[in-house]
Symmetry: C2
Subunit: 324 residues, 2 copies
DNA sequence: ATGAAAGCGCTAACAA
DNA sequence: TTGTTAGCGCTTTCAT
């Protein structure tokens, strides 16, 4: 099927492309009669606008890039769903790019996004260094960090209250008499991991227990890549486990149970069960009200059209006991 | 930061844009010296190509649209992950569009994809009618259906072997003495639901049980939208449940257990636990080897570059008992 | 209310 | 090996 262009419609009707363009874009300076003829011809001929040409000329693509570690993580998949729905309603498309927690891949993703002239970028950074975010800042494109932020960097973000998250997990355990939690997950350079651990430590401190680095077990945060954590924990003294995420908590629970019994408490984060009902008891600390997705979508659009220039926002969290 | 164009580089070096273009695109007809100078200048000046302009001129965007019901479904999120990884490796970007199982939204998504001049479309159709797929066929853009196909329509697809899936679930139950499974899920017009039910019926038939429509309970397949299925099942005679998907199985299991006891077998599909380890016993029939993602990526690329023109492929399935 | 024309940044065909 | 030129299909400015 041959592609129909503005010119084809213009020729068909004996008007100019400018006229057709105005009608199709709702610029109201064309007579009612011509307008109707154009609209009719466009429908009849099956016209679909060439967004590429429009974008090249206008300088806006109505597209944003969503750069995240791994869309197969249910937490990110859910946030992505909410973002895409909201962006689409506003006429935006979203390009999704996985980084697999790899800095090099992340840089490639940023370059790809820029090359495709996206109007803005939403980035959940892998955080091995600040380099990529600094590169992004230098470009001058609207962007915001989501889910993870750099304390040492001047950049917009929308994140969970991670310190409080860890604190809530810690208090939950402390109230039930546990005194030796071990934190399993992510690397120390990943902010949510660090802050959740610090929050956990703060809660334990309130009951007279001081946690040190021995209670922090770094592991790869990628889905389904934990390995035999239970074995690595052999020899360590602990009476409860706090995992970096629900995904990790779910994955290591069977190992832990086999080695340390069924009653060992395991707490996760993200509250996956709140949007993806799962039929087993689990406790998790997650954001209330759908998380950072809605805010992130609003903010990036606002930054694109210039109605907002800065955003440092933290989403509140709560502890959930599912299927109690 | 001002945007650097080919022309800027050309002016800087006293060559023409054509020369610069050739160097940057690796067309090897430029002297080593000029090449080096161009490459150096590009790096120095922070050049990032304008893909829009390149695409407008060349007619290729190196972009595909992935149109699916709901990215927050872990099964689709995982398939999406595999597809995006593979496409990215080949230089393609993927635009993700949720349809929410809505035909109108799906049509919009197809139009959006076309307007953005994607090179190809991967579509998991909502199937309320064949209309959108026929529209897509008419456009002449390379596309393939994923996960769901239309028996009555001539269109490429890569899908699970759904009939066998249902059959395996049925045989699993039959072998354990169950004789009255009820199938919960999706609407009759959604192909995998229909075929899984037919497979289930085939298996039951082998042990002398004939299933009729009374054993098919249609419900909304969207994540977290089941409602009180257990209550709706009240009065129906059944000894086991086969759900349209793991997501549905997981969601309704607590309701069912509360009403019908902990021992009621519930079987799902997609084998989510195989890529997202979950710490509870569940049985599910899913595709082996990562599912249709890899094939879908290969096929759409092959169709785009003309090295393949048709594909009717079914991915084999197996039954999994997780955390037995 | 409509036309005419420039040009967004690039690729590709052809000249030199 | 490099330069020249003509668009890709649209938006936008300026005339009419």
């Amino acid at each position: 099927m041959k592609k129909v262009t503005l010119k084809d419609i213009a020729n068909e009707l004996g008007v100019t492309v400018g006229t057709v363009s105005h009608v199709l874009n709702g610029i109201d300076d064309i007579s009612e009669e011509t307008k109707l003829r154009v609209l009719d011809a466009a429908r009849r001929m099956g016209y679909i606008s060439n967004g590429l040409a429009a974008s090249l000329r206008s300088g806006k693509t109505k597209t944003v890039a969503l750069i995240i570690p791994d869309i197969s993580n249910p937490h990110l998949a859910y946030q992505t769903k909410l973002i895409e729905d909201k962006m689409r309603e506003q006429g935006y498309s979203v390009i999704i790019l996985n980084t697999n927690e790899d800095e090099r891949t992340e840089e490639e993703a940023i370059r790809t996004a820029c090359s495709r002239q996206v109007d803005g970028i939403l980035l959940c950074p892998c955080q091995r260094s600040t380099q990529n975010v600094e590169f992004l800042k230098g470009i001058g494109l609207p962007f915001a960090l989501i889910g993870r932020y750099f304390a040492e960097l001047d950049a917009d973000y929308i994140c969970a209250d991670d310190h409080k998250s860890g604190y809530l997990a810690g208090r939950f355990l402390a109230e039930r008499g546990y005194r030796a939690p071990v934190f399993v997950g992510a690397y120390e350079y990943i902010e949510p991991g660090r802050n959740r651990f610090l929050g956990l430590a703060a809660a334990m401190s309130e009951v007279g227990v001081e946690l040190d680095d021995m209670s922090f077990f770094p592991i790869d945060p990628i889905v389904n890549a934990c390995g035999d954590v239970a074995a690595r924990l052999e020899g360590v003294k602990f009476d409860s486990v706090v995992a970096f995420s629900d995904v990790i908590a779910f994955e290591i629970t069977p190992q832990l149970r086999e080695r340390y019994g069924h009653d060992l408490p395991v707490i996760g984060f993200d509250a996956i069960s709140s949007h993806l009902p799962l039929p087993f008891y689990n406790v998790s600390v997650g954001m209330i009200g759908g998380g950072w997705a809605a805010k992130a979508a609003d903010v990036i659009i606002a930054k694109i059209d210039g109605s907002r220039d800065t955003c440092r926002e933290t989403i509140d969290v709560a502890l959930f006991e599912f299927n109690k």
